[in-house]
């Protein structure tokens, strides 16, 4: 063992407090340190995940008080898997945004990397924590970092996007607190396992009301329709890598939270169907909105929302297969959507007014970037032999096993819409009828290229050889499904 799960939180926090000091010593450290931290965390995560695969979940207690009393972190196959993805992605995002734009000065860079690191930490915290109030705190950490990052560019609209995000975010925290307090006032505990253990003693009406509040609050973060008004704006106005971070990290954490509540904490069966309903709604509406977008990033944003809807649907099946599918989707979405955001930012960067219509012929000017974008587009549509195919297949298989033919056909119909708008962009990239533009081509930096190539390679790797991930996914989904084991694991820890 290289360390314990708490280091996922402690180390970045320590680093975050250190960064301003380090920055006074050498300015470049501000950019380097977060990367080092993330590299360390990645090593830690991979090691722990490896350990967890064999030896079962690690329950870390904090401040020396056993679970119902103190706060605990749970690094199970499920949460560990998500944490690993998040940190990996975080590292790539860091690498990509290292010198993302040359003209960014010291102060903004410091803040950018700080906020980015804390965004990742917050999300990791959401996934790891075993305490509902602690989760609230991490959600807020993530939230504030996200507001700051959204408004990072001092252009006109980013503040608007950020404000919308903030407004909905604070409504979300209101609901979250309300829900937490309902639970607390009924059961007198904040520990997830403890709550799960005793939830059946709770008055069902209150239980459902608190569940609704939870879903609403977390749904805002997880971009569920109709709570996702902030999302397209925030995605499109935030810097490109941050968009990737939202799609790949923040939303995943929120979805995790919803899933944790529904699968582990509450024992409300109707919640699964509800997940399917809102998931489908989200998926359909988002994809329909995406097809009419004129700006690439906004399109990607809607597409992300849709994907999350699909993830929720997959979770909503409530079967292990469904969970497997959902996790696979999350993994793929993290990889592919990041690639799309990464390459897309350079495409946007090089087109007038950020319009898709202005992207004619970029395939020639930015060959690698465009190629990778096309690869990502193909993958996210679910074309074999790329990564996206396997997840789409598993979602459909899960649906078919639940005999939900209608849901299946809807998913496929929506995939068709998705295909249309992605291919429109790809078609444009490789359309040689370019408009004479005087804008000089801004080539991606070397580190950005490396990042994109890594992601592209991963897409191909998973596509050709899904076995690299399926083992972990199966373990992870089994871990989520086994609720009593979770409760037992957490509550049996005694100092």
């Amino acid at each position: 063992m290289v360390g314990t799960p708490v280091l996922f939180i402690a180390i970045p926090l320590l680093a975050a407090f250190l960064i301003p000091l380090l920055g006074m010593i050498w300015k470049e450290l501000v950019r380097i340190v977060p990367g080092l931290v993330l590299i360390y965390l990645l090593i830690l995560a991979v090691n722990l995940l490896d350990h967890v695969m064999v030896h079962g979940p690690i329950i870390e207690i904090i401040a020396g008080w056993a679970p119902p009393i103190g706060i605990n972190l749970v690094f199970s196959a499920f949460s560990g898997f998500l944490v690993t993805i998040m940190i990996f992605l975080g590292l790539l995002i860091w690498l990509y945004s290292y010198r993302f734009k040359k003209n960014v000065g010291y102060e903004p860079a410091k803040k950018y990397f700080l906020l980015l690191m804390m965004l990742i930490t917050g999300s990791v915290g959401i996934v790891l924590t075993g305490d509902i109030f602690n989760m609230f705190v991490f959600i807020e950490i993530t939230g504030i970092s996200a507001y700051g990052l959204t408004a990072f560019y001092t252009g006109r609209d980013s503040a608007e996007a950020s404000f919308k995000y903030l407004m909905l975010g604070s409504i979300a925290s209101t609901f979250l607190l309300l829900a937490i307090m309902i639970i607390y006032s009924q059961l007198g505990t904040l520990n997830m396992a403890d709550i799960a253990n005793r939830i059946h003693t709770m008055n069902p009406t209150y239980k459902i009301i608190s569940l609704i509040f939870f879903i609403t609050a977390l749904g805002i973060e997880a971009e569920i329709f109709p709570l996702n008004g902030w999302a397209p704006d925030a995605y499109s106005e935030a810097p490109g890598p941050v968009g990737a971070a939202f799609a790949g990290i923040v939303v995943k954490a929120s979805v995790y939270a919803i899933i944790r509540y529904i699968f582990t904490i509450f024992d409300v069966d109707g919640a699964f169907n509800f997940l399917i309903i809102i998931g489908m709604l989200t998926l359909i509406i988002a994809e329909m909105a995406a097809i009419r977008q004129e700006k690439l990033k906004r399109m990607l944003a809607y597409s992300s929302i849709g994907q999350m809807g699909l993830v929720l649907v997959a979770f909503g099946f409530g079967t292990e297969e469904g969970v497997y599918a959902a996790l696979f989707l999350m993994l793929n979405h993290a990889i592919i959507k990041s690639l799309l955001f990464f390459s897309g930012s350079y495409l946007v960067y090089n087109s007038k007014d950020k319009l898709i219509a202005e992207m004619n012929g970029l395939g020639k000017k930015l060959p690698i970037t465009s190629f990778l974008f096309a690869l990502g587009a193909f993958a996210i549509i679910g074309l074999p032999p790329f990564a996206g195919f396997w997840s789409k297949l598993s979602v459909l298989t899960a649906a078919a096993d639940k005999n939900m033919i209608f849901i299946m056909s809807l998913i496929l119909f929506v995939s068709l819409i998705e295909l249309v708008y992605y291919l429109r962009v790809v078609n444009r990239l490789y359309n040689s009828k370019e408009k004479a533009s005087s804008i000089e081509v801004k080539k991606p930096t070397a580190n950005a290229l490396i990042t994109m190539l890594v992601l592209g390679g991963l897409i191909l790797l998973i596509g050709f050889y899904p076995d690299v991930v399926t083992g972990v996914l199966h373990k992870a989904s089994a871990a989520l499904m086994d609720k009593s084991q979770y409760i037992h694991n957490v509550l049996s820890i005694n100092q």
Binding site: F17, L115, I141
Partner: protein, 235 residues
């Protein structure tokens, strides 16, 4: 129309919230196996801390507090990022009036007292109501007063940031020390002392003092940053 809709919505929401909470009953115990009893017992028994709330905030749920401090830290960072301007764009102070001498003199007089009060509050956080947050806020009020009173009063950003950082490092560092000397993060590894002594409660006062500094510095920073925002230029 829209307002009616909103009112209806809120009425509906209020109805559900109200039924939920009134069902709980005010001032009555609603649950049997809650954690609060353990907290009340353990505060005195193993931590030797008088203020249970402090014990919960700093020790039992110290992790929350670490997150909370981070939130503040992030708020300051985000604020700085959002309001960041390149140097040549920096505007003048937006307080357009000079305060009267009564205010300036009074502020100067009060300032040390306020700081002292703040310090007292966070140093005694584990004994009396109050603590790092409260004390920090009080100190920040002092700076707010000074900023309002003196047009050219300036606080060094660098110092603020150093204070912030060191305080934060202290908190997180103590947590990690707990991991090293004890078994878990944020575990108390110092002797707990005697109940109701200033030097009691192990790491709790240290952390709370650090929090106090941090909150003071951060709140001051927030106020300072917002005040320095360029105002309407037609004054």
């Amino acid at each position: 129309m829209k307002k009616i809709l909103i009112i209806l919505l809120l009425a509906g929401l209020g109805f559900y919230i109200a039924t939920t909470y009134t069902g709980i009953g005010f001032g009555e115990p609603h649950f049997k196996h809650g954690v609060k009893d353990t907290y009340l017992k353990q505060t005195v028994q193993s931590l030797h801390v008088a203020n249970t709330v402090t014990a919960i905030v700093v020790n039992f749920r110290g992790f929350d507090t670490l997150g909370e401090v981070t939130v503040l830290f992030l708020a300051v960072t985000a604020l700085g990022s959002i309001l960041y301007k390149k140097r040549h764009e920096v505007g003048v102070r937006s307080v357009l009036f000079s305060s009267s001498s009564i205010v300036t003199a009074g502020s100067k007089l009060l300032f040390p007292a306020i700081i002292l009060l703040g310090a007292y509050v966070f140093i005694h956080g584990h004994l009396t109501p109050g603590g790092g947050f409260q004390g920090g806020v009080i100190i920040a009020t002092g700076f707010l007063l000074m900023l309002l009173a003196y047009r050219n009063y300036s606080v060094s950003h660098i110092i603020l940031s150093i204070v912030e950082s060191i305080a934060g490092i202290t908190f997180a560092g103590i947590g990690l020390l707990g991991l090293i000397y004890g078994e878990t993060f944020l575990q108390n590894f110092l002797p707990v002392g005697v109940l109701n002594n200033v030097f009691s409660g192990g790491i709790i006062p240290i952390i709370y003092i650090a929090v106090g500094f941090k909150v003071a510095a951060e709140l001051t920073g927030v106020i300072y940053t917002i005040l320095h925002e360029k105002g309407e230029s037609n004054g």
